[in-house]
C-alpha cells in the first residue's frame, strides 16, 4: 500500500515537473528554495517495535475483599450463603480470594466464583464482582507433596524452586487440596516460625479451636534438624534459608496444591 502511494506521488511530481511553463493557465504556486524550509525536528525518543501480547501464559487471579460479603452457592443474590468473607485476615492483612470462575446472574450482574478460606477445605462460593477489588495476577503455583515431603514452586509450569519440607504429624495432618497464599508476614520476632511466614487459605481439620482459626502456614523453623519429616501441627515447615529463597520467588495470591 505504501509503495503504491509512493509511486502515485512520484508520478504526480513528474507530471508537475514536465508541465510546459509560460502557458496562459496559472501554474503552481512558486516553491521556496529548499534551504529556506526548516528540517523536521528529530523526535527525542522513538518507540521500539511492540512485542505481541502473550495470551498463552497461565495466569491466576486473586482479588481483595472490599467489604464483608456472603459467598453463595450460586451466582444469584437469593442463593443460599456458604460463608461470610471479611475484609481482613486474623493477621490484620487485607483478605484476598482466588478467582476460579465467572458468571452473570439473571440481571446481567457479574459474579466471581472464589476459593474460600473455610472448612471444609476446598469450598468455593460466588460473590458479586463489586465486592472485590482489582485483580492481582500471579504466574506461580506451589505444589506440596506430603508423601515425598517436598515443596516445588512452578512458574509458567516450570519448576523454579524445590525444597524438602516438614508436614503435619498423623494426629494433626496437613490437609490435601487446592488452596492459595493469603498473606506474608515478616519481622514478627518469633523463631518458631523462622524469618518469613506465608498464610494459606487451608485450615487444619483437627485444630479448629486454634487461635486465628487453625490456618495452615508455610514458614521457617528453629528446628531444622527435624526436616524433612512429619513434625508439625499441619503447617509446612522449611529450613530458614529455603523459606527465604521461596519468599523471593512466591507472591501472595499464588495457588497452592497439596497432594
Amino acid at each position: 500500500m505504501a509503495a503504491v502511494c509512493s509511486a502515485a506521488l512520484a508520478a504526480a511530481a513528474v507530471v508537475l515537473a514536465t508541465e510546459p511553463r509560460g502557458t496562459s493557465s496559472p501554474g503552481p504556486a512558486p516553491v521556496p528554495p529548499r534551504a529556506a524550509l526548516p528540517d523536521p525536528v528529530a523526535p527525542v525518543f522513538r518507540v521500539r517495535t511492540p512485542r505481541p501480547l502473550d495470551d498463552s501464559i497461565r495466569v491466576y487471579h486473586s482479588a481483595p475483599v472490599l467489604r464483608r460479603v456472603e459467598a453463595r452457592t450460586a451466582p444469584e443474590p437469593v442463593a443460599p450463603p456458604v460463608a461470610a468473607l471479611e475484609q481482613l485476615t486474623p493477621e490484620r492483612t487485607t483478605n484476598i480470594v482466588l478467582a476460579v470462575g465467572r458468571a452473570r446472574d439473571a440481571r446481567g450482574r457479574l459474579w466471581v466464583r472464589v476459593r474460600l478460606p473455610v472448612l471444609p477445605n476446598g469450598s468455593t462460593g460466588w460473590v458479586p464482582r463489586s465486592a472485590l477489588g482489582g485483580y492481582v495476577e500471579v504466574r506461580t503455583r506451589l505444589v506440596v507433596n506430603r508423601a515425598r515431603l517436598t515443596a516445588t514452586l512452578l512458574r509458567d509450569g516450570r519448576p523454579i524452586f524445590h525444597a524438602r519440607v516438614g508436614v503435619g504429624v498423623p494426629a494433626s495432618p496437613t490437609p490435601s487440596g487446592d488452596f492459595y497464599v493469603r498473606n506474608k508476614l515478616t519481622n514478627f520476632d518469633n523463631p518458631f516460625y523462622g524469618p518469613v511466614a506465608f498464610g494459606t487459605s487451608g485450615r487444619s481439620p483437627v485444630l479448629t479451636d486454634w487461635p486465628g482459626g487453625g490456618f495452615i502456614g508455610i514458614h521457617g523453623t528453629n528446628h531444622p534438624e527435624l526436616l524433612p519429616g512429619r513434625v508439625s501441627h499441619g503447617c509446612i515447615r522449611l529450613r530458614n534459608e529455603d523459606i527465604l529463597d521461596l519468599a523471593r520467588l512466591m507472591t501472595v495470591g499464588t495457588p497452592v496444591t497439596i497432594v
Binding site: 523526535p43 521500539r48 501480547l53 482489582g134 518469633n190 518458631f192 498464610g199
Partner: protein
Amino acid sequence: MSGDADPAPRVDDGLTLEELDADGALLEAIDSVYGDSRADLLRKAAFGGAALLGVLARPPDATGAPKKDTAVLKFDLVFEYLQSSFYLGAVRVGTVQRMAPEKARWAHVLGAHELAHVAILRKVLGRDAVKKPFFNFRGVTESESAFTRTAVAMEDLTVAMLAGQAPKFENRALVSAVFSLLTTEARHAAWARRIAGFTPVANAFDEPKTLAEVDRVVRATRFIASRPRTRGRGKPRYSG
C-alpha cells in the same frame, strides 16, 4: 463462563469516560498511591535523572519549564499504564480470546502498542518514572461490550490529552516525539471506533483537553485503586 449481558454504561458517538462513573472517588485513590494530589504531583515534580537530563537538551531555567515537561511526562506514563493494563487485563481474563478474530487482533495490537509506550516513557523518565498504580477495572475488562466501548472512550481521551499537552512542551524534540505518540493514538481511536461500530472520525476538529480535565475523567472511572495490604508484621497465628 461469562455471558455479556452486563449493564454497560450508555454509549454513543460522544462517549466519554465520565459516563462510566461520576462520583469522583479516584482522587483519594490517587493520593493513596502517590501521596500526592495531581496538583501536588505537578508542584513537587523533581527535575532529575540522567536519562531525562539527556532528553531535555535545554537546562532548567528560571521558569522551571523542564520541570513541567517532566511532570507532564509522568502524567502521560500513568495514563499509558492505565491503558496497557486495561488491554492486558482483558487478555488475561480471557475476554479477548472470546472475541472474533479481527476484534481480538485489534485488542492485541493496541495492548502491545500501549506497553511499548510505557516502556519508552519509563526509559525517558529514568529515575523519575512513577510506579505503576494498582488498577481495579470493576468488571469492565470481563465484558466484551463494556471493554470495547471503554476502549473507545480511553483512546479518544488519550488523543484529547496529547493534543492538549504536546504543544506545551518546552523542548522541541520532545514535542516532536509526543506528536508521534499523538498520531498513533489517533489511529488507535479511529480503529477502536470502527471496531465498536461508531464513526471512526466523530468530528472535523478534535478538542484538546487540559490535564485537569483528563485527571477529572480518570478519577471518575475509579480505575486507580488502593493496593491490597497483604504483607504484615504481626505474629503468625497459623497452626504451626
